[in-house]
């Protein structure tokens, strides 16, 4: 109890804040890098998600991961106590543990674990980890109270926490819905694991980003009105 209190008091007072415009530019940069990733894969490696999912997914998360880490480490909690490189280091740990969690979720929902599809599942969970867990680890570190407050109790405070929470849940829910067309007998190549799930996750993430941006703007207006 004591520890928790100690932790909490400085955290709320000292924290980097970000405006809606800043959040928008963060989203824009990460989105741009995702697009660049797709472009590189298509034009340099001449494959796409359908023809070679595991290579595509690997390249995607390798391209996306650094930029997410670089940006979100700037927005870390307690910048004085926690150096930039420590934030980068812990987000690498976060990447791996997040991939494990995502892989567990996917497999328990029925992702195949045969030898053929194992690399796909692994790279898909790394990409999901970049979308969901990595920003949070870069910002929160191992602070359980923050994780619990934001992800379990769904009580985010401040724009950064909106930026972490809503796109992450958006990606998860999008991936969940993305699995729906898989059992249909349309015999389309994108019905393979994990193509449509990936599209669903990316779509859900984008929807989450839009929702979080609009929430930020709405809440700011609300606050301003309150102050006035």
């Amino acid at each position: 109890m004591k520890e928790a209190k100690k932790k909490k008091t400085p955290e709320i007072s000292i924290g980097v804040s970000i405006s809606a415009l800043g959040a928008f530019s963060v989203y824009l940069i990460t989105g741009l890098f995702l697009a660049v990733g797709f472009w590189v894969i298509h034009n340099i490696y001449f494959v796409d998600l359908i023809s070679d999912p595991s290579l595509t997914l690997r390249l995607l998360w390798i391209i996306e991961f650094p930029i997410v880490v670089i940006i979100y480490s700037l927005l870390r909690r307690n910048p004085e106590k926690c150096s930039y490189f420590r934030a980068v280091g812990r987000s690498i740990v976060g990447l791996i543990s997040g991939a494990l969690i995502n892989a567990f979720g996917a497999v328990s929902l029925g992702a195949p674990i045969g030898m053929q599809s194992l690399p796909r599942t692994i790279h898909w969970s790394f990409l999901m980890s970049v979308f969901t867990v990595v920003p949070a680890t870069a910002v929160f570190g191992a602070s359980w109270t923050d994780w619990h407050r934001v992800f379990a109790s769904l009580k985010p405070t401040g724009n950064i926490e909106y930026m972490i929470l809503i796109p992450a849940y958006g990606a998860i829910i999008g991936a969940w819905f993305g699995a729906w067309p898989m059992p249909l007998d349309w015999e389309r190549p994108w019905q393979e694991w994990p193509v449509c799930v990936c599209y669903g996750a990316i779509g859900g993430c984008i929807v989450g980003q839009i929702v979080s941006l609009s929430l930020m703007i709405l809440l700011r207006k609300h606050k301003n009105l309150k102050l006035a």
Binding site: A4, G105, L109, T145, H148, A152, P183, L184
Partner: protein
């Protein structure tokens, strides 16, 4: 509260709703799947007699003349639309098709052949079509469903009639024939229709024997069934580039056979009739099964009938029904027409016969149809008919003249037959005397017969396929009302339970929280997905996905309430452990059988184990057998009261477990034909039923613990009974199921124990959500045991374990038990669930409601466990009935939607039985305990 439900009212409403549902369901089923009355037995010499004359002289002759050495070459080209050969709407076929079959087209142009567009009845798939062609009957859907233990065609049919007159038959091609007619063929070479991608080899395997067979002279009937064209259609559709080559190949075979037939005739070696038919057509994409024109447009081509047809148009522009083939061939070859035939003689095939023979053939056909009509019209609406009255002119109330036929259909048919018979009689009587007007009389009689036959055939066929709208509407509305009643009862109970105690209202921060939303969403998704045929085929994906999602939601909820500062106490550990074991066992269950239709070839655990060797399967069977016994006994002894009766029960179960192990270890390899195996299994059946029934009857009476509250007492007792039920059911399933399924049985038991552990550790989920989750888990387990929505996955072999003599009822019950192992297991676990809840309840609020009445307790504790499964099932059943009604013209109505409907009906039955057992057990235990308690207090007072 005005809408407070008493226990009695609740029960009355529920039972009324269920009864309404049963009535509605049975009305709907009999409306949608008409069961036509059929005649049993085979046609014999009586078919040459007047149906109204029992005493007429017996003539074993059809009085038709048949050539001495008549042979029949019967070529079936699977899936060939008649349009390819005969064209459509009077136009010749497309150039590409016409040019691919030059020889057949030349035969048609020369008048050597006559072709018909033979309309096939849905379902346009091979087996029912073959049955229709050889028996002339249109089978109902339920005929297919109820013939689970044999595929052989037991009805009267053409091949059986040929066999009876000593014909030698040879079959080359689709092995469906061998399944339909086991033992009839002198020589056969079956090919499988399983490899749809194979379009070449499958036909080569048929044609390789053709030269030898054509040269040998020992057969009377040669059946060739080519599957290649159907496979070409399935892979590439009507316009597949492979199609012309395949048509050419078929044309070459026609030429080979026809040339051989011509040679035989020129050498005076008898006459050969060549018939080319297709069982069904195909759509543009090459599919079939439904009732569109493209699929039902099958071919019927007679070559070598000596019919005098001059022009191409009259040789190709004919229409018939597929069932007409049976009576035509029967009459052409002089065998009795199969009993349940609804077809008529194809006009134009008899022109080689003499006049009196033609009329005689029509008369025989009419008599056969009249016999069938007599069976359909039960009441004696054949007034005034007596033996030979047409000839003698002694018919009561009937004059010997021709009348216009009107009135209702039955009367009209009788009248038409009378006209024909009278005209036939006139022609017969005049034949010897006057020859000038004979020709006119003959054609009048012919026309009259043809009119009667056509009308009668249509009437009989419509009897088997028509759907009475009134019945369907009545059934659906009854089901809707009962669904509404169930939902209302559930809602009122919901209001009662969650709004009376004040403390629980506060804890419900939302009216509906995440899990409750999810339960409703799952129901909605299921109902929506039922409308898509591929989702019906792959239904197991939905169940597994949704149930796993539910586990993840539980995980989320638990971690939400998880507090780091409290530390990892043991209770939380149990909770997380249970949820993780649920997730892992759920995943294993999902991977055990790759069910469904489209992806059955994907690897799964069962295939992997079977490939690894039977030794592994045996080990898994032994281990899960052992673990099931251990787990079951553990739960049995978990109640604190270590009574004597429980110990006896445990002994009984251990004995059963030992016997099951023995049976698994010793007899399962030899497929239990052994006498010892049957005895062992019977002993297990008796022991298990005695233990289960004994447990539920005796345990409530056994010694009462003085310092325990009433609820704790009942709870303990119910917990023991529930665990006895579960253990009993698991042991039974271990015995009956295939060895590979013993793993899933263990996993299902683990799941039940895990979710009971969760619910007793305060899951913070409403009671009804837990019960709904149990129901859903049961359905997911149903698919994990290898079941699907096709009838093919029903384990027929297991249905004969321990049965010494053939009994359809007993093996039907066993089959039901095997198929519904998992839903029943989860329903039975509700007894244990109620027991655990009662115990928990008594721990927390030991004396808050000291004098709650029996009815109140039953309502609160038994209400949800009974109502939730009934409600879910009622909603699913009603929704699926509506879906089936909407899909009645869908392509896959017979292949996908109707089997699924049978499964839905069986699930309904399973739910009724399960809920009845739960309700009866709990009510009995509660009343016995109340009785004992009151007895004791009286005793103490006095």
């Amino acid at each position: 509260m005005t809408t407070a439900m008493t226990c009695t009212r609740l029960t009355i409403f529920t039972v009324a709703g269920i009864f309404l549902q049963i009535i509605g369901l049975s009305i709907f089923v009999f409306g949608f799947f008409p069961v036509k009355p059929t005649l049993s037995g085979v046609s014999g010499s009586e078919s040459y007699r007047d149906p109204f004359c029992d005493s007429s002289p017996i003539s074993n002759e059809s009085e038709l003349h048949h050539p001495e050495k008549l042979k029949l070459l019967y070529q079936v080209i699977d899936g060939l639309p008649a349009e390819f050969v005969l064209g459509k709407d009077g136009k010749p076929p497309w150039k590409v098709w016409k040019e691919s079959m030059p020889y057949t087209q030349s035969l048609l142009a020369n008048g050597d052949a006559i072709g018909y567009h033979a309309k096939a009845a849905p379902p346009t798939v091979t087996m029912p079509r073959l049955k229709a062609m050889v028996s002339g009957a249109i089978g109902g859907f339920l005929d297919v469903a109820f013939n689970f233990n044999t595929q052989a065609l037991l009805d009267d049919n053409l091949l059986g009639q040929f066999f009876r007159i000593g014909w030698k038959m040879v079959m080359l091609g689709d092995e469906t024939w061998l399944k339909l007619f086991p033992g009839l063929f002198m020589r056969h070479d079956g090919v499988s229709s399983f490899f749809v991608k194979d379009t070449v080899q499958v036909d080569r395997n048929v044609s390789r024997h053709l030269p030898d067979e054509l040269n040998s002279d020992d057969w009377n009937l040669l059946i060739l069934h080519y599957l290649g064209l159907d496979h070409v259609g399935h892979t590439g559709g009507r316009n597949s580039p492979l199609m012309p080559a395949k048509l050419k190949e078929m044309d070459d075979i026609v030429r080979t056979m026809h040339l051989r037939a011509l040679m035989d005739r020129s050498h005076d070696q008898g006459q050969t009739l060549l018939i080319i038919v297709s069982d069904h057509g195909m759509t543009e994409n090459g599919n079939h099964g439904g009732s569109s024109y493209e699929e039902t447009d099958s071919l019927m081509l007679f070559i070598g009938l000596n019919s005098n047809i001059s022009d191409y148009a009259s040789a190709t522009n004919n229409v018939a029904f597929q069932v007409d083939l049976a009576p035509t061939l029967a009459l052409l070859f002089g065998v009795p027409i199969p009993k349940n035939n609804v077809g008529v003689l194809v006009p134009g095939t008899l022109s080689s016969l003499r006049d009196f023979e033609q009329l005689r053939a029509l008369e025989l056909n009419s008599w056969q149809l009249l016999r069938l009509m007599q069976a359909q019209i039960q009441n004696s609406s054949f007034p005034g008919f007596s033996c030979n009255c047409f000839l003698d002119g002694t018919c009561e109330g009937l004059e010997l003249d021709i009348s216009e036929c009107s009135g209702d259909k039955e009367k009209q048919l009788i009248c038409l037959f009378r006209n024909a018979a009278v005209l036939h009689g006139i022609w017969k009587s005049k034949k010897s005397t006057e020859s000038s007007s004979a020709m006119e009389d003959f054609s009048r009689a012919l026309d009259a017969y043809n009119t009667f036959l056509k009308t009668a055939s249509e009437w009989l066929a419509s009897k088997t396929t028509e759907k009475p709208v009134l019945l369907l509407g009545l059934g659906v509305s009854a089901m809707l009302i009962s669904c509404f009643i169930c939902a209302t009862v559930f809602l009122s109970l919901f209001k009662d339970v969650y709004h009376e105690p004040k403390d629980q209202v506060c804890s419900l921060s939302f009216l509906l929280n995440l899990e409750e939303m999810f339960i409703f969403a799952l129901l909605l998704i299921l109902v929506i997905s039922m409308g898509s045929s591929s989702m019906v085929e792959e239904e197991h994906y939905i169940w597994h996905f949704m149930v796993s999602t539910f586990y993840l939601l539980l995980l989320f909820k638990t971690s939400k309430s998880f507090n780091f500062s409290e530390g990892m106490n043991i209770l939380r550990d149990f909770k997380f452990g249970s949820i993780f074991s649920l997730l892992i066992s759920g995943r294993l269950l999902r991977g055990w059988h790759q069910g469904g239709v489209n992806w059955t070839y994907l690897p799964d655990i069962s295939k992997w184990l079977q490939q690894a060797g039977s030794g592994y399967v045996k080990w898994i069977q032994l281990i899960s057998n052992f673990l099931v016994i251990v787990l079951g006994l553990y739960t049995l002894f978990r109640t604190e009261s270590n009574r004597k009766s429980v110990r006896i029960l445990a002994f009984g179960f251990s004995a059963c477990g030992f016997l099951t192990l023995l049976h698994a270890g010793r007899y399962q390899d030899e497929m239990s034909t052994d006498f010892g195996a049957t005895v062992t299994v019977k002993v297990i059946y008796y022991l298990l039923s005695i233990s289960a029934i004994g447990a539920s009857l005796v345990l409530p009476w056994s010694a009462l613990n003085k310092d325990k509250s009433f609820l704790a007492e009942v709870g303990d007792c119910l917990y023991s009974i529930g665990s006895a039920y579960i253990l009993c059911w698991c042991l039974l399933q271990l015995l009956l199921q295939q060895p590979i399924n013993s793993g899933p049985i263990l996993l299902l038991l683990l799941q039940i124990l895990a979710i009971l552990c969760l619910s007793s550790n305060d899951l913070q989920v409403n009671e009804w959500v837990e019960i709904a989750a149990l129901y859903y888990m049961g359905m997911a387990g149903h698919f994990a045991l290898g079941n699907s929505n096709t009838l093919a996955t029903i384990d027929v072999a297991g249905a004969f374990i321990g049965i010494s003599s053939h009994s359809t009822i007993l093996s039907g019950i066993l089959m039901f038990m095997i198929t519904y192992a998992s839903p029943m297991l989860f329903l039975l676990s509700l007894v244990m669930y109620i027991g655990a809840k009662l115990r928990n309840h008594s721990h927390s609020t030991i004396s808050t409601h000291p004098e709650t009445s029996l009815g109140q307790i039953l309502k609160l504790k038994l209400g949800f466990p009974c109502l939730v499964p009934l409600c879910i099932n009622s909603i699913l059943l009603t929704a699926y009935t509506v879906v089936l009604l909407l899909m009645r013209n869908h392509l896959f109505v017979w292949s996908v939607f109707s089997p699924k409907y049978l499964y839905v009906c069986a699930t309904t039955l399973c739910t009724y039985i399960g809920v009845f057992i739960v309700a009866a057990t709990v009510t009995y235990a509660c009343s016995v305990t109340t009785f004992l308690k009151s007895n004791r207090t009286r005793h103490n007072n006095s």
